[in-house]
Symmetry: C2
Subunit: 157 residues, 2 copies
């Protein structure tokens, strides 16, 4: 079973995101069965679904699909960083899977605000840029990306 | 039920990826139930899981999590573009969700090779850059990204 540890905050608005602030967003752990179940639908490459071929490959065992890792990381971002009932995200830059995520690894998510800018055309919202990192139990970064998040302003005036 | 249409090719190697070639990779369609089931685990934002709040929001109904869309797009990439038993992907650049994906939309995937370069340090492989687009039944691009794929060379010599 996929285990997700996270402690959702009260609601947030644009004014709450301070450049330089880091949010510790909880962690997740997957079993080999979780990895195979997801990858069988979304990413059926041998390294994610075939124990025999994976054992002979460069990682020596099944590793998680990067899309499952990022899906769970997104879950922690939704629970711990984004406002409730948020706005659609325009995109992601520089997504990198820097190390494999193996069965039993615990991946902790931290998000640092790098830029916060009010929209000129739509003054009820602002765009938050952040650096998003997944770190395993050994302190190694396994995942990094630079999301953009559109959030509501508390007091648009 | 999620419907995926795809016709996997025979195996491919680095030499097979020609710059400028476009691969039509099939399509997928999701029901509202598929969208809610995925988002309940990976991306439980109101616009993906709460019919009432979604109806009041900017899209007027439930829309798919961008991570589910990209997961299914990845499935079509695995089936129709990548080699069998491939190598780990280093990352993605410029991921953009340009329009919402709604229940019943049919999203077709096309991938165009933009760069193909042999590795200097590891001559048994090469790096393929591509432009990856998801297009709905109206011809609108709903998803675009620039993946990097590491693939084996057929004849390393």
């Amino acid at each position: 079973m996929i285990e997700v540890f996270s402690t959702p905050p009260t609601d947030r608005f644009f004014e709450d995101y301070k450049v330089g602030a880091t949010y510790e967003c909880g962690s997740f752990t997957m079993t080999e069965a979780d990895i195979i179940a997801f990858a069988s639908v979304y990413d059926p490459q041998a390294m994610h679904v075939d124990r025999k071929l994976a054992a002979e490959g460069p990682f020596g065992e099944i590793i998680a699909s990067g899309w499952q890792t990022i899906g769970l990381a997104m879950r922690l971002m939704v629970d711990n960083f984004l406002p409730h009932n948020g706005l659609a995200a325009p995109g992601i830059d520089e997504l990198r899977w820097t190390r494999p995520v193996r069965p039993g690894d615990t991946v902790s998510i931290r998000i640092t605000v790098t830029e916060a800018r009010r929209s000129r055309s739509k003054p009820d919202r602002g765009l938050i840029h952040s650096l998003f990192e997944g770190v395993n139990q050994n302190g190694d970064v396994v995942l990094s990306l630079k999301p953009m998040s559109m959030v509501r302003v508390r007091n648009p005036e």
